[in-house]
C-alpha cells in the first residue's frame, strides 16, 4: 500500500528528532491552581511522539497542535506561544496536528481533546508557553554541559544559544540530542510580558505557503491505490429510515463495487468518486416516514408562536418586569424576530479515510474537533480493543462548528459504512454538498419575543425576552446556549426577565459559529437600538450610558464609533448601524454602512470593527478572524436559510439555493485591536454576532423598517 500524498513535514519530524518535550496530564483543577501560581505541572522528556514540541537536528522546531487547524489560526498561535518562551527564530517554527491522546492533549477547558468555543488560545496560553520555557531550559543545560560553562551565563535569542564570555554559540539542532537527556525544569520561568518579542507581532502564518500552492493536504486528499470511495444515500426527511431499496441499476454502474444498507441510509462503494456518485444516483430507495418530521417550516413557526404563551424556563430575572411594563407614563415596544435554520457549509464537506494497518488495527484520518470521542465511537462500532483504532486529526477545510458533534454522528456513519463492507479495505467516506446542506445539524430555528419599556426620561426600564427553539444540548432543562447573551444582558436595566421554551424536533441541530450569540446578539442589539430610539437616545451614547458595568464592551463600542466618525455626514442614500456583543470573553463592536441595493436588498459598503481579546497574540490572525467572522455572519443574515417545505423536505440543496457571501458582497473592513494586558480570549467566533444587528439597525434608519425575520432577502425586508 502506498500513500499518494502525505504531509512530508510530519514524516520528517517523526523521523529525525532530537529534543522532545511533553507536558503531562493536567486536569482542569490543576490548571486553575497553575493560574494561581501553584504550578502543578508534570514535565517530562520523552521519545514518544505524543509530545508538544520536537526540536529536530535540522534546527526545525515542530509544535504539536492539540487544537485542530481549520482556518482559525491555532497552528500559528500554538507555535507562537512556544517560540516566544523558547526564544526561537520564527523561520524555524513548524506545526503539526497532535495525535489523539486525552492524557497529553486534553483541552484545559473541556478535559478531553477538543477544539471549540473559541477557547484554544485562552486555555493554552500558559501551558504552551511553559512547554517553550522548559525546552529552552533543557537546551541551555545541554549547552552548559557541552561547553563546560555555567548555565546562568548562557543566553538564547532568535534560535541561537550563546555563551558570550567564551564567544561560543550554537543553533538548536546541534544541541537537541544532548538536550533530550537533560532533566526538564520543575518550575519553568515565564517571561515578563514586556520582554515578549513574538507575541503581539504580525507574524506570518505557518500554513500560508502550503495553502497557496495546492500542497496543503486535507482528509479529502488522502488516497491509496486500492481505496474505495463510499457515499451514502440519505433520507430526504429528518427521522426517516430505509423501508426498502433496489440497487440493480446502481450495481450495473461500472466502477461500483458494492451496495450495503446502513442505519443512516444506503451506502454505495466504488473504485472512484464519480462512479460512486453515479451509482448512488441510480439507487431506488423507499423511505419509512413514520417517525419523520413532515411539517413545513411555516407549520413549525406557527407552533413556536403558540409556545410563547406557555410556561418557559426562567434564565434570568430581576426587578419586576411586568409591573415596569405596565407602569403609567412608559412607552412600550414589542417585537417578534424569527431566525431560520442555518447550515454551516464548510468548503470541505465531511469526510474520513479508513486504513486497515499492518497489525489488526485501523487508522482513521478525519478533521475531528473531538478526536478522542470520535476514536472511541469508531472503536466501539468496530468491536476492537481500545488501542486498535487510531484517529489522526487532519487539517480541515473549515468547520464553523460542524465538525464538533457530541454524538459523533458523522464518524458513526462513516464507520458503519466501513464496517458494512468488511472493514478490511482502505475506504474514503465523503459527503457531497447536497448531503451537507440537507444533512441537518443546523443552527436551530429560533423565535424571540421581546417586550420593553422606556420611562418619561427616555431610560429603558423594562426588558422581557422569550426564546423558543431547540436545545442544542438536547436537554429539557434550561440550555444556556439558547439564551447566552440575553440572560447575561450587558445593559444595566432594572427590570429584566429572560425565559426559554425548549422545543423537541427531529431536525438535528448543532452549535454554529458563535452559537447562541448568533441569534441573541441580533435580538438584543436590534431591540436595544429601537428602545434607545424610542427614548430619544443616540445608539452609541445610549448604549454607553447602560454599559457602566461593562467597561471593555463600552470601550470597543466607543472605539468603533470613533473609527467610523459616528454622527458625521453620510453619503447620499446610506445609513449606519452599530452593535456591540461580548461573546466567548471577547468584546467586539461593529459599525456598518448600508444602502439599498439595485435588487432592493441591503448592500453593505463598509464595516468598522473594534475588538478587545486581551493580549493580542497575533494581530494579523485577529484581524483575519474579524474580517472573516463578520463576512460569515453577513452572508448568513443576508441570505442564509434552510427551510422545510410542504411535507418536511429540505428545500435547499447546494450553493445556488443556499446562498453564501461572495466577493462582490464583501464590505471593506477596518479593524482596530484594543491594547490589553488581560489574559487572551478567543477570536474565532466573536466577529460574527455584531454584524447582523449592525446592518439591521442601519437598514431600519434607512427604510424605517425594523428587521423581524431573517434572512434579509427581498420579500422579507424589501
Amino acid at each position: 500500500m502506498r500513500w499518494h500524498r502525505f504531509r512530508p513535514t510530519r514524516r520528517a519530524v517523526l523521523a529525525g528528532m532530537g529534543l522532545v518535550v511533553a507536558v503531562g496530564a493536567v486536569a482542569p483543577l490543576a490548571y486553575s491552581a497553575a493560574r494561581k501560581g501553584m504550578w502543578a505541572w508534570r514535565i517530562r522528556s520523552t521519545a514518544s511522539p505524543a509530545a508538544f514540541v520536537k526540536i529536530g537536528t535540522d534546527d526545525t522546531v515542530t509544535v504539536m497542535n492539540k487544537h485542530i487547524e481549520f482556518g482559525q489560526g491555532t497552528s500559528t498561535g500554538m507555535a507562537t506561544l512556544v517560540a516566544e518562551e523558547l526564544d526561537a527564530d520564527w523561520s524555524q517554527m513548524r506545526a503539526a496536528e497532535a495525535p489523539t491522546d486525552d492524557e497529553l492533549y486534553a483541552s484545559l477547558a473541556f478535559g478531553v481533546q477538543a477544539t471549540g468555543g473559541s477557547s484554544a488560545m485562552s486555555v493554552a496560553y500558559e501551558q504552551m508557553r511553559l512547554v517553550g520555557a522548559a525546552a529552552r531550559a533543557m537546551l541551555v543545560a545541554a549547552a552548559a554541559e557541552e561547553w563546560g560553562v555555567s548555565a546562568s551565563e548562557i543566553t538564547v535569542s532568535n534560535g541561537i544559544v550563546r555563551h558570550v564570555p567564551s564567544g561560543r554559540e550554537s543553533r538548536f539542532g546541534a544541541l537537541a540530542d544532548r538536550a533530550a537527556e537533560q532533566d526538564p525544569p520543575l518550575w519553568p520561568r515565564l517571561k515578563d510580558p514586556k520582554n515578549f518579542v513574538l507575541i503581539g507581532r504580525d507574524l506570518p502564518k505557518l500554513d500560508t505557503r502550503e495553502k497557496s500552492n495546492g500542497t496543503a493536504t486535507f482528509t479529502a486528499d488522502l488516497s491509496t491505490d486500492d481505496m474505495l470511495v463510499a457515499v451514502v444515500e440519505h433520507p430526504d426527511h429528518f427521522g426517516a429510515t430505509v423501508a426498502s431499496f433496489d440497487d440493480t441499476a446502481a450495481r450495473a454502474v461500472p466502477g461500483v463495487v458494492d451496495v450495503r444498507p446502513l442505519p443512516q441510509g444506503v451506502a454505495v462503494y466504488a473504485r472512484d468518486t464519480f462512479s460512486a456518485l453515479k451509482g448512488r444516483a441510480a439507487l431506488k430507495v423507499e423511505w419509512d416516514l413514520s417517525k419523520a418530521e413532515t411539517r413545513s417550516s411555516a407549520e413549525i413557526e406557527a407552533d413556536f408562536v403558540r409556545r410563547l404563551d406557555g410556561t418557559g424556563l426562567e434564565a434570568t430575572s430581576r426587578g419586576d418586569p411586568d409591573k415596569a411594563l405596565g407602569a403609567d407614563g412608559v412607552r412600550r415596544l414589542e417585537a417578534q424576530i424569527l431566525f431560520p435554520f442555518l447550515a454551516h457549509a464548510p468548503m470541505e464537506t465531511l469526510d474520513a479515510v479508513f486504513l486497515p494497518n499492518a497489525g489488526d488495527g485501523i487508522d482513521i484520518y478525519s478533521g475531528a474537533q473531538f478526536p478522542s470521542m470520535d476514536q472511541r465511537t469508531a472503536t466501539e462500532l468496530l468491536g476492537l480493543g481500545p488501542d486498535n483504532v487510531r484517529l489522526h486529526t487532519v487539517i480541515a477545510g473549515g468547520s464553523f462548528g460542524r465538525r464538533a458533534q457530541p454524538n459523533a454522528a458523522y464518524i458513526t456513519e462513516a464507520t458503519e459504512a466501513f464496517k458494512a463492507i468488511g472493514a478490511s479495505r482502505p475506504m474514503k467516506h465523503m459527503w457531497t454538498r447536497e448531503d451537507d446542506i440537507r444533512g441537518g445539524y443546523y443552527r436551530p430555528m429560533y423565535l424571540h419575543r421581546l417586550r420593553g419599556a422606556v420611562d418619561a426620561t427616555g431610560r429603558i426600564v423594562a426588558w422581557d425576552q422569550a426564546v423558543v427553539g431547540q436545545s442544542i444540548a438536547g436537554t429539557s432543562e434550561l440550555d444556556e446556549s439558547s439564551v447566552e447573551g440575553a440572560s447575561n444582558l450587558p445593559y444595566a436595566i432594572d427590570n429584566l426577565r429572560v425565559v426559554a421554551h425548549n422545543v423537541v424536533l427531529p431536525v438535528p441541530v448543532l452549535w454554529w459559529r458563535s452559537v447562541g450569540h448568533s441569534h441573541t446578539g441580533f435580538a438584543v442589539e436590534t431591540f436595544v437600538d429601537e428602545l434607545l430610539e424610542l427614548g430619544g437616545r443616540d445608539a452609541v451614547e445610549g448604549r454607553l450610558e447602560l454599559l457602566s458595568g461593562e467597561p471593555r464592551l463600552a470601550a470597543v463600542l466607543a472605539r468603533a464609533a470613533e473609527m467610523a466618525g459616528w454622527g458625521g455626514p453620510l453619503p447620499e442614500g446610506r445609513q449606519r448601524g452599530v452593535a456591540a456583543v461580548k461573546s466567548f470573553g471577547t468584546c467586539v463592536a461593529q459599525v456598518a454602512e448600508v444602502s439599498r441595493g439595485e435588487d432592493g436588498a441591503p448592500r453593505v459598503h463598509k464595516v468598522w470593527c473594534a475588538v478587545d481579546c486581551g493580549v493580542a497574540v497575533n494581530p494579523n490572525v485577529i484581524r483575519q478572524q474579524m474580517e472573516g467572522g463578520l463576512g460569515y455572519g453577513l452572508g448568513a443574515i443576508l441570505y442564509g436559510e434552510i427551510t422545510l417545505g410542504e411535507g418536511g423536505r429540505v428545500m435547499q440543496s447546494n450553493f445556488h439555493d443556499y446562498r453564501v457571501l461572495r466577493i462582490n458582497e464583501m464590505p471593506e473592513v477596518e479593524v482596530a485591536i484594543m491594547p490589553s494586558s488581560a489574559s487572551p480570549s478567543g477570536v474565532g467566533e466573536p466577529g460574527v454576532p455584531p454584524i447582523g444587528p449592525a446592518v439591521a439597525n442601519a437598514w431600519r434608519r434607512l427604510t424605517g423598517q425594523p428587521v423581524r425575520r431573517l434572512p434579509m432577502v427581498p420579500g422579507s425586508v424589501a
Binding site: H4, R5, F70, G71, Q72, G73, P204, K205, D207, T208, R209, K211, S212, N213, G214, T215, A216, T217, F218, A220, D221, S223, G255, D272, T273, F274, S275, L277, K278, A345, P346, M347, E348, T349, A396, G397, G398, S399, F400, T432, R433, Q624, E627, G628, G629, L630, G631, Y632, L634, N654, F655, H656, V660, L661, R662, I663, N664, M666, E668, V669
Partner: protein, 154 residues
C-alpha cells in the same frame, strides 16, 4: 479514450467519458490541489485552466477536453502565477485554505486578461469562487498587489 495535456504531460483517460475532469484529475491523476466543493459549478473550488480559460472542472465531462491543454494549481507557472502566489503569501490570504487553489487559478486567469483590474473586474472574475472563511478582502488586496508587482516589473 480521451487524450489531453495535463500540466505539460500528454495524458490519457480510458474510463467513463462522462467523468467530470475534476475526478479524473483527483482520482486518476492523483493531483489533489484541485478541490471538490459543490459539484455544480457554484463554488469554484475546482477551477483549472482549460486552454488558458478558468474553467469549473466539476461539471466538465472529460470527453469535452480532448486535445485540450489543462493546467492545475500544481502546474501553474509564469509571471502572473508567481506574482499571485507571492501576494497570497505576503498578505496571508488563506484561512482554512480549501478554496484557495480555485481562487488562485481564477486570479491568475484574470491578471493574464486584465493586467490592471478594477474592483468591478475583480468582482466579475472572482464572484464564482466562494470562500466560506470570507477571506475576500485579502483576496482583493492580493490581486491588486500582484497587478502592481507585475506592472513594476514590466
Amino acid at each position: 479514450m480521451v487524450r489531453f495535456v495535463l500540466n505539460g504531460q500528454p495524458t490519457t483517460f480510458e474510463g467513463d467519458p462522462e467523468t467530470p475532469l475534476l475526478w479524473v484529475i483527483r482520482d486518476f491523476q492523483k493531483l489533489m490541489g484541485t478541490k471538490y466543493g459543490c459539484g455544480v459549478a457554484q463554488c469554484g473550488a475546482c477551477t483549472v485552466h482549460v486552454d488558458g480559460m478558468a474553467t469549473r472542472s466539476c461539471v466538465l465531462p472529460v470527453s469535452a477536453v480532448e486535445d485540450a491543454d489543462i493546467v492545475t494549481i500544481e502546474g501553474i507557472s509564469g509571471p502572473e502565477a508567481e506574482a499571485v502566489k507571492k501576494a497570497w503569501n505576503g498578505l496571508d490570504v488563506p484561512q482554512c485554505g480549501f478554496c484557495q487553489s480555485g481562487q488562485i487559478m481564477s486570479a491568475v486567469a484574470l491578471l493574464r486578461e486584465v493586467p490592471e483590474p478594477t474592483d468591478a473586474d475583480i468582482d466579475g472574475a472572482m464572484a464564482g469562487n466562494i470562500c466560506r472563511c470570507a477571506a475576500y478582502g485579502r483576496i482583493r488586496r492580493a490581486i491588486k498587489q500582484a497587478a502592481a508587482d507585475l506592472g513594476a516589473e514590466a
